[in-house]
């Protein structure tokens, strides 16, 4: 079984701060990491490979430093890595990203599953996975907690708020995984050494055979108009007297009085 895992390199948000004057992210000196949720996608793929055999290919679009993320994925044990790097891809929104990834997947051709993280910690749109499935016209199974493959079909347990749903689809299919789906493995020391002996395949816009106007900023319908930190509204603290039930009742009354519920 051949699996493609799409990953994104993101700034380590634990280290990120905002410039209050410009409202923009201060990225200088911030280390980049594999989007944590994408590590769950890699782990899910590696576990499926251990059960069913085959190959895991990791795919990422971004500037040259994306190589670090791909090497880390190779260190975790994936078999191959493909990097989409081209100035034409700069400024891509989720749609343009899905378009380029879709072309790359078509070029890879031989695959049974695509696995993505549910969402990236920088954008938090959760759009790329589903859009990629639409782009390729394959079934999408989102928010997976568990994945099982039997007889050319894939089944997942989907997390849907407080509910779980069991979904099934023929392969090839695309799955997005939740953070709780697994605990990503620590890269073994020998695999790390091997990771640096492997070649990373580089594809640019010309290699993907797509329409120029669909790449990057030109192909992105989303236009970012402003980034800002919402102003905090300072209120008065009021302590409610009484036992837990009585205090809760008073609290609900006050919220109702303000038409919040």
């Amino acid at each position: 079984m051949n699996i493609i895992v799409c990953i994104k390199q993101v700034p380590d948000v634990k280290e990120v701060s905002w410039d209050p004057k410009t409202g923009s992210l201060i990225r200088k000196g911030i280390p980049s990491i594999i989007n944590p949720n994408d590590k769950n996608a890699i782990e899910a793929a590696l576990q499926l490979r251990e059960r069913h055999g085959g190959e895991v290919t990791v795919l990422s679009m971004g500037p040259s430093q994306v190589e670090d993320a791909l090497r880390e994925a190779l260190g975790m044990g994936v078999d191959k890595a493909i990097q989409l790097t081209s100035k034409e891809f700069a400024g891509s929104d989720t749609w343009a990203t899905s378009y380029a990834l879709g072309l790359a997947v078509r070029k890879i051709a031989q695959y049974d599953l695509i696995i993505c993280g549910k969402e990236a910690i920088d954008g938090m749109t959760a759009q790329v996975g589903p859009q990629l499935a639409e782009c390729l016209n394959i079934p999408q199974l989102t928010y997976a907690l568990e994945i099982e493959v039997t007889n050319s079909k894939v089944k997942i347990k989907q997390k849907l708020g407080d509910f779980h749903r069991l979904l099934e689809a023929p392969m090839p299919a695309l799955i997005t995984v939740e953070r709780e789906a697994n605990k990503p493995r620590v890269a073994p020391m020998d695999t790390i050494l091997e990771a640096y002996g492997k070649e990373i395949t580089l594809w640019d816009a010309d290699d993907l055979d797509g329409e120029d106007e669909n790449f990057g900023l030109k192909g992105s319908p989303t236009k970012l108009t402003r980034v800002y930190t919402p102003k905090l509204i300072k209120g008065k603290v009021e302590m409610l007297e009484g036992g837990p039930e009585e205090a809760a009742r008073k609290c609900v009354e006050k919220i109702r009085a303000r038409y919040i519920i």
């Binding site: 670090d68 260190g75 620590v186 890269a187 073994p188 020391m189 790390i192 990771a195 640096y196």
Partner: protein
């Protein structure tokens, strides 16, 4: 001279750090409470291939550099736990077996030391001797294809854990010769092999240091490591490796103490301002940082000399002389910055301070190493 770590080394450091966060820190308190680590700890190290790091792949190892081992030891040192020692003991013992062992010995003993199925030990010290080979009383008397071993060893790390140990014994057939110490690889589940309860050491809860007793223990002659009578030379090699590993661990410990101190000074307010803004505190932090960095690069240098197959016995002694007291002082300064809180078990620095105390004594004393380094200058 290049002080930049390779991308592979950086990724190994990150992986070791991830491993510590995932597997070591969650069990840190229970190790102290139980005076023991979980039995599967070694298997966990094996799963991320942290065993047999210097052993070539054909024997089940990883085949990486000694510098990378030290970088991993540093990350383990940051946890302030004894978990580094089973891992480092397996690595240094396996490296020594690879270096000195015959092909048959390598094939028999290296795979279980690399796959986590055997805890390693190295045993020289006895109740009446710490570093004098002439004072060894544990004997190995030839009997057919075996030796019969009798005697006792003291402070043997992991001596009570199943696996193999390299035991240095007085060879019964060589007793009239000057070089009469033989290194024997002993199965720790052999009949007649017994151990005491673990010693209770300051800061080393869970270290599993025990006394080992041999009563007519049969050890195959094929388990001899290297040449008979060459044991002391093998021991000197192993202990030099161990000293560098210990220094790597101490650098990590010092870095953790510094990190704790920085965190505390940023959080603790004095007259409405964080302590970190006080010049006196900044001087202390700057002093600690420079000391940790000096220890780090001295240790890396020793590991690189080991990798280059240069003589590293004296440079490893320099680590005991400089790194050990320097890091001990760094942990003391970090404790001092914490004030009374630092003296409380509620704070990590208390444990770091206590565990640092072992390093001037374990794996040869600082004073002995001063003799080694000093005598080399006037020889």
């Amino acid at each position: 001279m290049d002080f930049t770590l390779s991308p592979e080394s950086k990724m190994m450091v990150k992986a070791a750090s991830d491993f510590c966060e995932k597997e070591i820190l969650p069990i840190a308190d229970s190790i102290i409470e139980n005076n023991d680590y979980p039995e599967d700890l070694l298997v966990k190290f094996a799963k991320v291939r942290m065993l047999g790091l210097a052993v070539p792949k054909e024997y089940g190892g990883v085949g990486t550099t000694n510098l990378n081992i030290i970088l991993i030891a540093e990350e383990l040192g940051k946890t302030g736990t004894v978990c580094a020692w089973p891992m480092l003991m397996n690595n240094s013992t396996a490296e020594t077996i690879y270096r000195w062992g015959s092909e048959a010995v390598r094939e028999k003993f290296l795979p279980p030391l690399c796959d986590g199925s055997a805890y390693a030990s190295t045993a020289f010290t006895e109740p009446a001797t710490g570093s004098d080979p002439t004072a060894i009383t544990t004997t190995a008397v030839p009997d057919g294809d075996d030796f019969i071993v009798n005697g006792a060893k003291r402070y043997i790390t992991g001596g009570n854990k199943k696996g193999y140990g390299v035991f240095y014994v007085k060879d019964g057939e060589l007793k009239d010769q000057k070089a009469n110490v033989t290194a024997l690889i002993v199965d720790k589940s052999s009949e007649g092999y017994t151990t005491s309860a673990p010693w209770e050491f300051m800061g080393l809860e869970g270290m599993n240091c025990v006394d080992v007793f041999f009563k007519d223990v049969r050890v195959p002659k094929s388990n001899v490591l290297g040449e008979r009578g060459n044991g002391f030379r093998i021991l000197l090699h192993w202990i030099a490796v161990e000293r560098i590993e210990q220094a790597g661990y101490m650098v990590g410990l010092g870095q953790a103490a510094l990190d704790q101190a920085v965190k505390y000074t940023k959080e603790r307010l004095v007259r409405g301002k964080p302590m970190a803004f006080m010049q006196g505190i900044q001087w202390m932090l700057g002093d600690m940082k420079s000391r940790v960095d000096a220890c780090r690069y001295l240790t890396y240098r020793a590991a690189c000399i080991h990798d280059e197959e240069g003589p590293f016995d004296v440079v490893s002694s320099e680590l005991k002389i400089f790194v050990v007291p320097t890091i001990q002082e760094v942990t003391r300064m970090a404790l001092q910055i914490h004030g009374a809180y630092g003296y409380s078990k509620e704070y990590k620095i208390e444990g770091l301070f206590r565990i640092a105390a072992h390093a001037g004594i374990v794996a040869s004393s600082t004073e002995l190493n001063k003799t080694i380094a000093g005598s080399a200058l006037v020889r």
